[in-house]
Symmetry: C3
Subunit: 471 residues, 3 copies
Amino acid sequence: MLHEHRLFPADATARAIAVKLYETIKDAPIISPHGHTDPSWFAENKPFANPTALFLQPDHYIFRMLYSQGISLESLGIPQQGAIGDPSAAQQVDPREAWRIFARNYFLFRGTPTRMWIDYAFQTLFGLNERLSGDNADEYYDIIDKALQTPEFLPRSLFDRFRIEVLATTDAAVDTLSWHQQIRDSGWKGRVVPTFRPDAVVDAEYLGFRENLVELGKVSGEDVSSWKGYLNALRSRRAFFKSMGATATDHGHLTAMTADLSLAEATALYERIYAGRLAPGDVELFQAQMLTEMAGMSVEDGLTMQLHPGSVRNHNLKVYQQFGRDKGCDIPSPTEYVRALRPLLSKYGNEPNFTFIVFTLDESTFSRELAPLAGHYPCLKLGPPWWFHDSPEGMMRFRETATETAGFYNTVGFNDDTRALLSIPARHDVARRIDCAFLGRLVAEHRLDENEAFEVVQDLTVNLVRKAYRL
Amino acid sequence: MLHEHRLFPADATARAIAVKLYETIKDAPIISPHGHTDPSWFAENKPFANPTALFLQPDHYIFRMLYSQGISLESLGIPQQGAIGDPSAAQQVDPREAWRIFARNYFLFRGTPTRMWIDYAFQTLFGLNERLSGDNADEYYDIIDKALQTPEFLPRSLFDRFRIEVLATTDAAVDTLSWHQQIRDSGWKGRVVPTFRPDAVVDAEYLGFRENLVELGKVSGEDVSSWKGYLNALRSRRAFFKSMGATATDHGHLTAMTADLSLAEATALYERIYAGRLAPGDVELFQAQMLTEMAGMSVEDGLTMQLHPGSVRNHNLKVYQQFGRDKGCDIPSPTEYVRALRPLLSKYGNEPNFTFIVFTLDESTFSRELAPLAGHYPCLKLGPPWWFHDSPEGMMRFRETATETAGFYNTVGFNDDTRALLSIPARHDVARRIDCAFLGRLVAEHRLDENEAFEVVQDLTVNLVRKAYRL
Amino acid sequence: MLHEHRLFPADATARAIAVKLYETIKDAPIISPHGHTDPSWFAENKPFANPTALFLQPDHYIFRMLYSQGISLESLGIPQQGAIGDPSAAQQVDPREAWRIFARNYFLFRGTPTRMWIDYAFQTLFGLNERLSGDNADEYYDIIDKALQTPEFLPRSLFDRFRIEVLATTDAAVDTLSWHQQIRDSGWKGRVVPTFRPDAVVDAEYLGFRENLVELGKVSGEDVSSWKGYLNALRSRRAFFKSMGATATDHGHLTAMTADLSLAEATALYERIYAGRLAPGDVELFQAQMLTEMAGMSVEDGLTMQLHPGSVRNHNLKVYQQFGRDKGCDIPSPTEYVRALRPLLSKYGNEPNFTFIVFTLDESTFSRELAPLAGHYPCLKLGPPWWFHDSPEGMMRFRETATETAGFYNTVGFNDDTRALLSIPARHDVARRIDCAFLGRLVAEHRLDENEAFEVVQDLTVNLVRKAYRL
């Protein structure tokens, strides 16, 4: 299924250069500085349950597409975790039956990156070379199911087999990082590091925000009823994360809005937030202020800061109520950066040793806003194409719209950003191929020398990642 | 003038695949589920008047470009139908003289889809193989003029010659559909179906809105002075349209805003609208509410719903005052979908058997908003590139920006959307060629198997259209 | 370093056509109707100081990229002209040392148009064929430094050598144009013409606005304390500029907003502006009204009007305070045109003999707003890709997104828009190559005949520029 020259330009000249470039980086180690795999996998190192539980049920890229064509989430055994959902629903579905639905509808994924990732896993890990369909659904299921019970398919084995140099997880600010501790204690050498994600104690509309604040006070030993205590609690957690190997923080906000309030204003705002006496705009303003505070703490402690704005979460209320978060119903919306980031950048944008990586779901901002900002501010770097744009066309458009203004050296390599362990090498492989395809075209069009392209592709694959994330 | 490989990729590998794909669909029947041809043509089956009246005067793509270069609309005999226009102006211009102006300026259309459509008609229908110019203007005129008087160029002959399987017109909610009835009564087998377009009774700023409401009450026999009666009148008209063959409704709004008001709020809003006592925002809110009501009726009666938002109509007031609507002065503007559609989608987005086709004039929304929405909501499908984007580059960008997130199967094939009968086969041919070009590249880049591409191109050309519009 | 086929398509068929097209226009004269070179260069005709002063210190494209990677502006000797800057700082840096920093970091410019422009100058003017790096920094410096002392590198010699037919500068409304007078008086035949740029007397937040108004009154001999006197002062200056060879005006605004106030409203607004008693929104409204006034004056005097909106100036306050304006900290932001331009276009959009060239930093507007507007309004023409989009990818996207709706003939050729004299031929060469590449693809895809492409490329290179700017 996987042609050795897939994703390279159709044009023979550009393709030949891309092929040569790819040869030099295809076996480079995987550095995954941003993702959502579960640290318990590596702590416990237990086998995955079955093909459906591994491929289908945790992957919203897959079940959102099936759902869009009228296939119910219940029939796929997607866990029901919402306000009115029944958590045991996943158990009620025969995983083989769910797999057959997936297989019969696999043609829906034609032309999508999801198809590319899954085929990659099917072929390279399970030796499956015939495209999945209703006809071979059971054969697929049996082969994968059997393999999952072997030691080669335990999480740590896969980690090693994928040549992962470092893998970052994403962890709540109040997380005790016990799985990470267990990995450290186990003696296993795989480098799995946490990332500090404080959204649940920064977004006053986050589910359980009040309880999260209480928990923050508890784990940090700080009095979070005051602005100062709250900030110290966050400082303390950041230090703890850093001691556990973290090199970065991550912030998921509805907008990129930042603020730079006076101490009096910020104090008063926090008091309203803490007391739950919200004035209109307080929720967004507090998040905005907290981005600037977090930037200040990054200047202090050296943690790289990541901002992921622009997703309207849980757009489909019916699905949210029954199935909960992260069910493929988060939809991007227009995102403004120039005015939004100005307060933060005015305060910390010129600081040496501050790295601020910004992502977007609004591609129109790459050439208009983000590349111009990144091509000027010392702190600012462009995150790789995110989410729906982690795709061949999306990546190519990123290089085409960002490079001329920001150059290659204000970018930070690739993030796989995934919950799906098996997709990690596939995603990195797609990114590497697209970078080679882009560079191949630049060389073929005599816009870059071939010897330069060999340097650049190394930088994009490993050097820029290590530098930006201090890995 | 028409190269057999036009619009296929320059690259030989991709082109060879595109050529093979095109062979399998170039003669497929034309399914035209959305357009603006005049049903009286097929009811009366009279010859078209002359080349200028056929090609130039009804086609705002043509005369807007001529106007942009300083050529007056008067000199082209464009009918003056505005507040201060003189309706007899078209007669005052010698059609041959207008044709000569068009011919002398035909070079202005280089690089535009309009040129492609017209050349296609010139060559395939009239055997004209030399590019139109001032030099051959009269020769062109004479050849076309003569042909139009022959039976082969009567509307029904053209319909058959174009292998049109079904052609949808667009008709006001109060339309008696008498031309459609006359077609049915005539015994002719051509399938021409109406489309329910209620804008004129939904948009309180529409010219003649009050009179339209009165007419709606009359033709439906409902008392439209009440909210309930108004809704029933619309229900009744939908049922009538359906009985006359309609399978879809169409809604042209300034924005994609939808609303989901309580019965009390909606009733009060309608009372203000009906009484002409408008509060600020009422016009837009009423349209927003009506989109949701229409969605509800589609859930009931199964008519596919189409939404065409984002055009600022009659931007050039001077032209509007003298020449009236649809004179090339409608200009797209930024259009937001994610928040705008949420009320409607929250209410009806998960309904089985509801098909909601959304179009856009704001391409930046394809990757950011529309493909993510269509790749999740069961009801939602992406309309083909519309209006200014019904073009080779526009169609290609649509496939490139929408496919990775929405797949092929949340799209609905092609709409020619035209008032120009002769352009129908040309427009479908361009769409088919671009789909083949896109698929050819995917195969050449090993992102899709060749055998899959043959299936997909059939789906894009006929199967997805029939399914989405229930034809 | 410069391959003869650089920037042409990789595909052999399209490239062969591009090469043939390029042969016919590569030696065409340079017509530069919009730029920012210094007229004193041509008046005084003195040698440039040294390589650093010539290439590095005036070019914000270069030092913004270096700054983004943590290199201080002080180390590069960028003049400090801000509120807290030290103007003599440039002198304190050894220019050779600054050059070495630039050379060591030249790899940062890979993939950027800046690299292409500089390499072009290095090779064609100084015979330097090995890519600049830390290793050859001194060699480069010595060769360039020596050449600059020769007569061949005096400004007028370069002007002639570059085959510049006409070069427009940009000049404040109150400028006495003494350098232009000196050029005229000198007997030198080079055509250097001014452009009327009234921003500093139209934008009430412009640095020194009050003083500028006083100066405007002085140089025009009008009483600028009244609205009528102010307008007459501007009319008088426009007439003076026109007498000195100007054929165009230029307007840099934050937005594209225009207004059409009544005389009473405009008078009252100006009185507030003049008295410094600003109500909220006055600054923007006054600029908006002035765009319409300027359009009216263009209708009167025939000067072509240019609008450059959308840049948030001096985004980095720290850099602005120390170094002043134009230091690479101007960042584009989303720009709306359809509603913004309506007042101006409603009043003057249909006037014959009015040419209104609109630029954008927001590429998403080309297909959505600007091409539709330009494809209708007789006055409106699309300016070439501006600033960050004056690049191979940016130019190609412009042709791809604008041509299908606006055609080629509502565009106006290329603007180099530069402060860097040596980059002029390089920039025009890039634009010509990209136009050939685009046309080559259209011909290879059988969308345009080859003989037409030869005509179009002449039009794009010289004819459309001369027509739009009346040169």
